[in-house]
Symmetry: C2
């Protein structure tokens, strides 16, 4: 069982528009099954979503799950509403690390998709729990929105540069990721899949 | 004559580390000529840099230009120091739009590289003056640094989502970019080149 993502981001790094729509939905070339979605879905036995994503659509999903027959784990510190369990939604226990344990112990034949939102993906990344980080770089610049990564932008600073010159460091901030594979789609989207 | 970029960014979108070092220099697999640098340099007859980038290295560059025989245009509103002209450095006239005009009128046989920093690339992007936007996605997450794009991050907001549901829009925020080509390097870096 591998824990995977398959998310679409704009070239400037946004997972969703400022109003919360996935970036996929902001491009005219995405039809709900394109950009590797069907291939990916065939690998998946369970889905993980964050509580905000759940709340965003719960009213609809509890009646009509987009993942019929597949358990959907919700990363949350609060109980889910009545009827969630019958509709296939399972609350996490013990935060992100506890949820990873739940997934590993669920005896799934195939893989798990961490769908989002960004905070949920970040929580899994911080734990090193994403086995295949799949990102489709969509050919659009949004300018603003919800970033995939928890980024901390810095302006250029002469002071920081002078400090670097005084005490240079050649070491990378973090280890390199390993690219598992990449593939190009017809609209110029490029999927990058990294191994943990 | 085409105006081009060939920049390395981290997977999370940073052109440089917080201390101003290009992200290229933060990875052990970059040797100064790899990742398509030599192929790219062979296309280039002139270079554009921002004033901060110039000031960062001017003391060294005025003695020993990294681009011998190639004019280097500096996007600036202030005169350059004495000796800049003899060393091949040319001040922009009339802001970014004036600089684009200077480049178009320079009768260059080959192309122009907009080297950076990020504000200079952004100024050219805003003018629609980048003919080939080349970005090498390096296999590293930096977490913090100087972003390539002028990004405006938004947190998820239930209010924004409810507003979207009340008045949905299916139109993309901006037109799609056209992918000219892409290529993968040995360390798992992936170069994406977009046409304007």
């Amino acid at each position: 069982m591998l824990i995977r993502t398959h998310v679409g981001i704009s070239l400037d790094g946004f997972l969703a528009t400022p109003d919360g729509r996935p970036t996929w939905d902001a491009i005219p070339t995405f039809d709900g099954t394109s950009h590797g979605h069907d291939d990916f879905t065939a690998l998946i036995d369970a889905v993980v979503i964050g509580r905000s994503s759940f709340d965003q659509a719960a009213a609809e999903w509890l009646v009509n799950s987009p993942w019929p027959g597949k358990p959907v784990y919700v990363l949350t510190s609060q109980p889910l509403p009545t009827g969630s369990s019958d509709a296939g939604f399972i609350a996490s226990q013990g935060g992100p690390a506890g949820l990873v344990k739940q997934l590993r112990e669920a005896n799934l034949a195939r893989d798990v998709q961490v769908l989002g939102g960004s905070r949920t993906i970040q929580a899994f990344l911080e734990l090193g729990a994403i086995d295949r980080l799949g990102i489709v770089v969509l050919p659009i610049l949004l300018g603003k929105g919800i970033p995939l990564f928890a980024i901390d932008p810095a302006p250029f600073s002469k002071q920081a540069w002078d400090a670097h010159l005084a005490s240079p460091s050649a070491s990378p901030a973090r280890p390199l990721l390993r690219l598992d594979h990449q593939r190009q789609y017809r609209d110029g989207s490029v999927e990058l899949v990294y191994q943990s």
